[in-house]
Subunit: 440 residues, 2 copies
Amino acid sequence: MSVRDAVDPWEALRGLPMGQRIELSDGRGGVFVGSVVPRHELSGERILILKLESGYNVGVRIGAEASYRLLEPTPTPERRAEPRSPAEGGPHAAGRWITLLATGGTIASRIDYETGGVRPVREEREILAFYPDLGKSGRVRIVPVFDRLSEDFVPADWATLAEKVVDAFRDGAEGIVIPHGTDTLGFTAAALSFLVRDLPGPVVLVGAQRSPDRPSSDGSSNLAAAAAVARDRRIGEVVVVMHAGLSDTRFAIHRGTWVRKMHSSRRDAFESRNGPVLGEVENGEVHLSGPVRSAAAGPARAELPLDDRAGLLWFYPGLDPHRAEEFVRPLRGVILAGTGLGHVALRHLGWIRAATVRGILVGMTTQCLAGDSDPYVYATGRDLLRAGVLYLGDLLPETAYAKLVWALGRSNDPAEVTRLMREDQVGESPGRHPARGEPA
Amino acid sequence: MSVRDAVDPWEALRGLPMGQRIELSDGRGGVFVGSVVPRHELSGERILILKLESGYNVGVRIGAEASYRLLEPTPTPERRAEPRSPAEGGPHAAGRWITLLATGGTIASRIDYETGGVRPVREEREILAFYPDLGKSGRVRIVPVFDRLSEDFVPADWATLAEKVVDAFRDGAEGIVIPHGTDTLGFTAAALSFLVRDLPGPVVLVGAQRSPDRPSSDGSSNLAAAAAVARDRRIGEVVVVMHAGLSDTRFAIHRGTWVRKMHSSRRDAFESRNGPVLGEVENGEVHLSGPVRSAAAGPARAELPLDDRAGLLWFYPGLDPHRAEEFVRPLRGVILAGTGLGHVALRHLGWIRAATVRGILVGMTTQCLAGDSDPYVYATGRDLLRAGVLYLGDLLPETAYAKLVWALGRSNDPAEVTRLMREDQVGESPGRHPARGEPA
């Protein structure tokens, strides 16, 4: 049935049931085949959102010249694999589920076609409307936790998420997926790595660099890959799953403490900076290659409370020592992102020494974001060491900050906090790098 | 003549003239052929420093079992190429020189073998002793400017260097080489890009990731490559020359505003983050491939004074808005390194709006260190834009800060400073990236 409404085509199109497959011509050369996605109060007038066969969504402006025809629903291929035994590293046993802790972010956002910007979706049914494939490979429970963009997260939110992870495992989930804004996804992944221990299954953070109703959205494919990883019983750590390279079907599995967002818009923006990727997902299959931490017997437990009297300060030429001192004064600890092997100007030695004497932890990382920080190569490093600075090897500044928020919550004794910071806790510092600045 | 001293071999070895070639056996299996390098008051007792045939230096501890024999000097091959015409892009005309502005840093440092640390060398004769090949391909003038490690640089030092560059060109140099500590080399390269204009030749910053008296030093080869670039009359901008990849003979030429140190210890630590490398040096030949700015007629001029009432603040989850406000209060401008496309938590909107109303420039960059910052994709970006934040595209945070230090020095009028920051000045923002967060 081809329809050219004598009246406004928008009047007919807006009334189509959700999920109806259509072929839509916008009358300006664009032809789209897909299913109608529910509209929102914020969608622009005369914008129809279609989920294309590719999984991408597109918003089409419906002018007077638009036409469409109704299509039959697509038959869904049944691709349910025979469950393998958990001992064989099979993806999942029948009857278990993964729990999705929804937090907001691009992966759960949509374009507001009136302003051109992106806003978070707030309800479970919206998430399922955008990701109808999510439940196909096994049971999924959805627990809305937050509905915000990740730049608004604070450490207290990491504590809330840690508790929800423990709850979900206690309730029987075999793995957890946390869709999360990509802006601070690396921070949260690092924080959860320290805050939740004895994981009986994977905790998988996943984001999208494009919102789900945009033609190029990566949310659907990322989420499917994350769900596959969350069902993998070989994994007992916090990981991040995002696109690898430019392939549409390859996804990298990053250790939560090694990963960093290294591009503002590319789909493959996330990189493991100081260690290998743990594995990949290709065409739905999980291939592990790195030093993966095995699942623990459980039960998972949260190491709380955390203490957010921590700071992260990036050094630069011209940073005023008085400003730095003021910045650090109310804190129990600060991570410095120093230059090179972990240096700051020597005129900062005074406040640093005074701070460490007061029991404030001053941890050193490198703003190079790769390679070790090392106090033994240059005179500056030895001076800083003598001033009480704790060198943190190749920890990313962000990971070191997340670790500090955890460690400060464990003890009020500066010596104990230092000991916790120095130790490898969850594979974040397995000592792969030479202690001295030897040729790389 | 093989010598086994009946008395302590150290007594004979310490008296050898500088430059004497010897074959040295340390009596513990090590045999070294090289020239004696001058000792320093800080060299450990019983440590002889040899420049090996490879160009690397090594410190050998002289025990009672050491022996040596004297060798003839190595004949120096004369590899002086026929000068090509400048119009053909030839490397240099006869009779001109390059000026080396020595600033300190690893490239002009040596190991203190007693402490195992590295200290800067302070005198021209030490630099020439370490880099005897420097003058072979043309005349070199050496002007010591500083003798410090680069983490101790402040913006006022950038002004001093800018003036020295102008002086050197005025005195007739065809190009400038600035050996510089690698820690803040990227900052200085960006700052000089804005501070010195109408360059009649190249200004080449170069560093070393290993001190010149260590076996794996890259200083000698980096400096030779930098000298070759400094003699290339096709180039009229500030560049950084450092090792490219793992090759011993390939060096990358980076635009000063695009380069960043991305590893704390690798020789190839420097990367052009948001643009192509401008070219390479291979076996002493300069190959240009990128969008190189041509040499100007000159004379070079310094745009001074600068104004260091600028700051650089990296956002993180948990950054206290009051701390950020205090940090910014005494400044005329601040560069924020935001998350993703250039975001900070919305609870920071208050102080940001108050600051911009007071005429403080608040510039936004991305801590991803690649890709654009862009206020039009998310609601957060539009809120920040309305609060008066200036989005700076894909400028590195460090480059944006250096540009701000320059721009604040040009005008006391906030609108004029904003205009200067928005404009492409020296090829730092040629608008290669899409303005919107489109698929990459």
